[in-house]
């Protein structure tokens, strides 16, 4: 009898303890940062966190002049864990803005709950087609790109060069499908072979065998994080023909990849940013990043940095009063900040209108491999879905 009452008391105490953690403080901007921080797919998430943290440091720990509290949650690359984490951020911490997000499947699992609770979601990477067209929502903003864009640029690059037999390999999840669709849209013909390995798969023996059998001239591989590194190593180990041209998205061609530079020299990659973009903000960003973290920033970091600056400008515009969601949304849409990409503006569906560049992996003077921008593939490119969005 006594034991039971003790247990009941313990449970109530535990709840009280937990509640004290969630107690609200006044006059602070609460940001929920949900990203992938563990497992082989975590490098982009860590880059995002680094970029966002650097921006906050530059702003003195404040967004729009108001003290910022960032609660970071690891989604562990699982939509389940992400939903639980998001639940905590939305219901217990009651964050004002939810940001981060590397992977589209995680964003898609979490976003509906955020929209329902009228929380603004600013994605620092994932830009699925689902929110760009008919499913667009005023609460969603992509500070990065629309998923197809990078792949459309790659398709254009390959189409311009006129390869006959092209292969596409992308993971079997929403962004992978967006990749294939976007790539084919600008390649303007059917690829010789399309492969969709399971997201997170690390052994590509099966796929490499199929690529070899298909006699291709060029391959576009969209394999984020650890997948790409493994693929590149196994591709070389399997003795694939070095004459086959390889193209990949720019955001995968940074840090983790470049450490395998010898296997990648000459590989082209496409994206909306490059560390050598000649504008003032970018130069400051790259210099500060190298000083803080000891290595070049990746595209993920640049996007997260921009996301933080975007939030900063919006909070300033509404004078720190985030409760008025309509005003906040309008302020974010105005995008009145200096992006490391140069100019920055949103289309009606809250996805960016921006350039796409081609870069090539080359060996620098110091022996390290870097990306050099070679050409502008698209100027002020708008995504393919904006027409279907009802917001105008």
């Amino acid at each position: 009898m006594n034991r039971i009452t003790t247990m009941a008391g313990a449970i109530l105490l535990a709840m009280a303890a937990g509640a004290s953690i969630g107690a609200q403080a006044a006059d602070v901007v609460k940001i929920g940062f949900l990203t992938t921080l563990s497992g082989p797919a975590s490098a982009p998430g860590i880059d995002e966190r680094d970029g966002f943290t650097l921006a906050l440091k530059t702003l003195g720990g404040k967004l729009g002049g108001v003290r910022a509290e960032v609660i970071t949650v690891d989604d562990q690359f699982s939509p389940d864990a992400a939903k639980q984490g998001a639940d905590r951020l939305l219901k217990r911490e009651k964050v004002d803005i939810l940001t981060g997000f590397v992977y589209s499947n995680i964003l898609l699992a979490v976003a509906p709950a955020a929209f329902a609770s009228k929380t603004v979601v600013i994605s620092a990477n994932a830009g699925p087609a689902q929110f760009a067209g008919a499913g667009c929502s005023p609460y969603f903003f992509s500070a990065s790109y629309q998923n197809d864009a990078t792949h459309e640029a790659a398709g254009k690059l390959m189409a311009d060069k006129g390869y006959k037999r092209v292969a596409v390999i992308a993971p079997n999840y929403p962004a992978g499908k967006d990749a294939s669709a976007g790539f084919k849209r600008f390649l303007k013909k059917e690829p010789a072979i399309e492969l969709f390995p399971k997201l997170g798969q690390l052994d590509f023996a099966t796929e490499i065998a199929q690529l070899r059998a298909a006699n291709i001239d060029a391959v576009y591989f969209f394999l984020p994080g650890g997948m790409g590194v493994n693929f590149v190593k196994q591709y070389a180990a399997a003795g694939m023909d070095p004459k086959i041209v390889r193209v990949m998205p720019a955001y995968d061609a940074d840090q983790q990849m470049l450490s395998n530079g010898d296997l990648l020299a000459g590989v082209a990659n496409t994206g909306q940013w490059s560390a050598d973009l000649p504008n003032e903000q970018n130069r400051a960003f790259v210099t500060a990043f190298v000083k803080e973290y000891g290595h070049q920033p990746s595209m993920y970091s640049s996007q997260a940095y921009d996301a933080a600056m975007l939030i900063d400008s919006a909070v300033k515009a509404v004078g720190g009063k985030l409760e008025n969601r309509e005003a906040l949304i309008a302020a974010i849409k105005a995008a009145n900040f200096k992006s490391v990409r140069g100019g920055f503006k949103f289309a009606a569906n809250h996805y960016p209108i921006q350039n796409q560049y081609a870069r090539v992996i080359t060996k620098g003077a110091d022996g390290k491999y870097v990306n050099n921008m070679t050409q502008t593939l698209m100027t002020d490119h708008v995504d393919a879905y904006v027409g279907e969005c009802k917001m105008q």
Partner: protein, 304 residues
């Protein structure tokens, strides 16, 4: 097309041989000690982590391999003495719970020690490139993996069938009471079988490490495949584990490789790409059920 099939067959052999390493240890532990060891997959992971750590520090894959194996054996020895030997007499549910607890401990433990990101384990430089097989380039490292697996299989065969220790192990798997009655030091036998089984799993982890990612949880999916192999092959039987591993390796790899192409004939590429591997994975369990209907104790059960 013939080249493709040849390459996929090689891939399935490589996978099957690694499964055999893991399953043979598991089946011996089941067979001799009647112990359900869910933590077997964790030692697959621990072997890989130790090798990655040593290889990272010394720059040599081989040093990593040679260092990790005795360390894993020592860890297995220690845990058997501290915890597991107290559990043999208890019922299977206790085994399941205790070893499941170790899965949790090890998975978070490696992340605590080495961080949440996977550790790189690179192929030895001499084997990082391709080798020509009948005009087809194939990864020399994968051939090495197969060679190591086959060498271990032969060694295991000789050990079990041609040595006294092997005889005790076979006898123990067949009828433990008799073996005890004959005066064999059961405690030592158990400890040796346990540690040896774990070392085999660790070896598989080290060989596969460069091909996948050395990360927390890498042993979990492999564990269940090992279980299927053991059930198909028959508990306590190493030859059974060999046959089972080959079957599972072939069904899984060919399933992943050929089924999507088959389905792509009448489905879209990405639909085929998810149905194919899923069906390939399901097929393994269907094969297991089929085998059990025909032979309820597996193909080569050790127990009379």
């Amino acid at each position: 097309m013939a080249n493709l099939i040849f390459e996929q067959v090689l891939n399935s052999l490589q996978f099957g041989v690694m499964l055999f390493l893991i399953a043979s240890g598991l089946t011996l532990i089941f067979g001799v000690m009647n112990f359900v060891n869910l933590a077997h997959g964790s030692f697959f992971m621990i072997g890989a982590y130790l090798a990655a750590y040593i290889a990272g520090a010394t720059g040599s894959f081989w040093l990593g391999l040679l260092g990790a194996l005795p360390l894993t054996a020592a860890l297995g020895f220690l845990l058997e003495w501290l915890v597991f030997r107290r559990l043999y007499k208890k019922d299977h549910m206790v085994h399941v719970l205790a070893t499941f607890a170790f899965i949790l401990i090890f998975n978070d433990g490696v992340r605590m020690i080495w961080g949440p990101q996977p550790l790189p384990l690179n192929m030895p430089a001499a084997f990082a490139g391709p080798v020509m097989l009948f005009g087809l380039p194939y990864s020399s490292f994968r051939l090495l993996v197969m060679a190591v697996g086959i060498a271990v299989a032969i060694g295991l065969y000789l050990l079990i069938n041609r040595t006294r220790l092997g005889m005790w192990v076979r006898a123990g798997a067949n009828n433990l009471e008799m073996v005890t009655a004959m005066g064999i030091n059961i405690r030592l036998l158990f400890r040796l079988v346990f540690s040896f089984g774990l070392v085999l799993a660790a070896l598989a982890g080290i060989m596969l490490g460069p091909l996948v990612a050395v990360q927390a949880g890498m042993g979990d999916d492999v564990l269940i495949l090992a279980f299927v192999v053991v059930v198909i092959g028959g508990i306590g039987s190493v030859p059974g584990a060999a046959v089972g591993a080959l079957i599972v390796g072939v069904v899984d790899t060919l399933g992943r490789g050929l089924l999507p192409q088959l389905f792509a004939l009448f489905l879209s590429a990405d639909a085929a790409a998810s149905v194919g591997p899923a069906l390939g994975s399901m097929m393994i369990y269907l094969v297991m059920i089929a085998v059990l209907f025909w032979r309820p104790s597996g193909l080569f059960p050790a127990r009379s």
